[in-house]
């Protein structure tokens, strides 16, 4: 995945995006090769679940196909991760709705929920367990910085907050994570 990323110089990327805008499936396929790994990791670290990450990644690329004509230049990664972040927020909202439903029908769904939780716990690694101890916003910021490779300026713009706030939150979050990991 990384070699594909390195190969993607900005000129090549511009050509690929141009092809995507014309509806060329091969160009979209190249975009998938370039970004699927990073975006999947981003979703995985936010959700801690392979199945959900699969769904969110598929949704991301479907959205990219739909919205590619609205991309007006600038940092493509910033544009793409903005969509990824929105998809994650939508997921969180639907999860909250599902949680309410779950509470209402707790008895009926109890066995199913226990099964799902067990599967998830088997799959998550040590870092994932500690990441859960951070609040969602901080976790999201750390993952965005790490996987999107965007600058603090771009991240601050995306999150509509002052750059100093972004810097301080990320620093605080990473420091906490180190403590949780015992390092």
């Amino acid at each position: 995945m990384k070699s594909a990323e390195n190969m993607a110089k900005s000129d090549d990327l511009a050509l690929i995006i141009n092809g995507c805008r014309k509806g060329d499936a091969r160009c979209f396929s190249q975009l998938v090769d370039m970004y699927a790994g990073r975006c999947y990791s981003y979703f995985y670290r936010l959700t801690g679940n392979n199945d959900i990450s699969d769904e969110l990644l598929s949704e991301l690329f479907v959205k990219l196909v739909e919205k590619i004509t609205s991309y007006k230049g600038g940092s493509f990664e910033s544009w793409m991760f903005k969509i990824a972040t929105n998809i994650f927020h939508d997921f969180l909202r639907s999860k909250q709705r599902r949680q309410k439903l779950l509470d209402a029908r707790k008895e009926r769904l109890e066995s199913e929920f226990t099964e799902l939780k067990k599967t998830n716990d088997e799959q998550i690694d040590r870092l994932q367990i500690q990441l859960k101890r951070l609040d969602t916003d901080t976790r999201e910021l750390i993952m965005l910085r790490f996987y999107s490779q965007l600058s603090f300026k771009e991240i601050a713009q995306m999150r509509s907050e002052p750059i100093g706030t972004t810097l301080a939150k990320l620093h605080r979050g990473l420091k906490k994570l180190r403590e949780f990991m015992g390092e």
């Binding site: 499936a25 998938v32 999947y40 810097l167 990473l174 390092e183």
Partner: protein, 165 residues
Amino acid sequence: MDNRNDENLKELLENFFGPGQTQMYLDDIEKGEQILREHPAPEPDDMLIANIKAQIALSALPRRTSIIRRVEYKVAAVAAALIIITAISTNWFEKSIDVEPKSGMQVASVFPWESYDIDALHSEVEQIEDELMDIESGRENLDSNNDISEMEMELILIAGDFWKG
């Protein structure tokens, strides 16, 4: 492009936290990100990637077909305009050199029909009118076997190209 590799983090931190604390902030961020590097997240499954690509190929197809269709309409419009211009200019030219046009000769000079079979010409014109009506009404043989087989052929070609990479 303004990505993290181009930014001067040290300078940025100095601006916000002062030179005294910059190194501490830099170290904390670096060590924190080192943990993330040491614990890589899982990669997406090959089957998932293949499914996404197949899904994209299918959803990109209608757009490509509509672009081709738009180009076809434009070409047809240009061709029609050229025929009309040729007809008008031929008519004007023949009038300007004062040649008495003979009945039927003008039509023969503009249109490529060899015979003077009026019934055949009528049926041809009716057929073209029907096709135009179909295109305008959006029916355009959507249910005909030809279009379905064309669509299938296009899908097979795209799928072939796609798997070739």
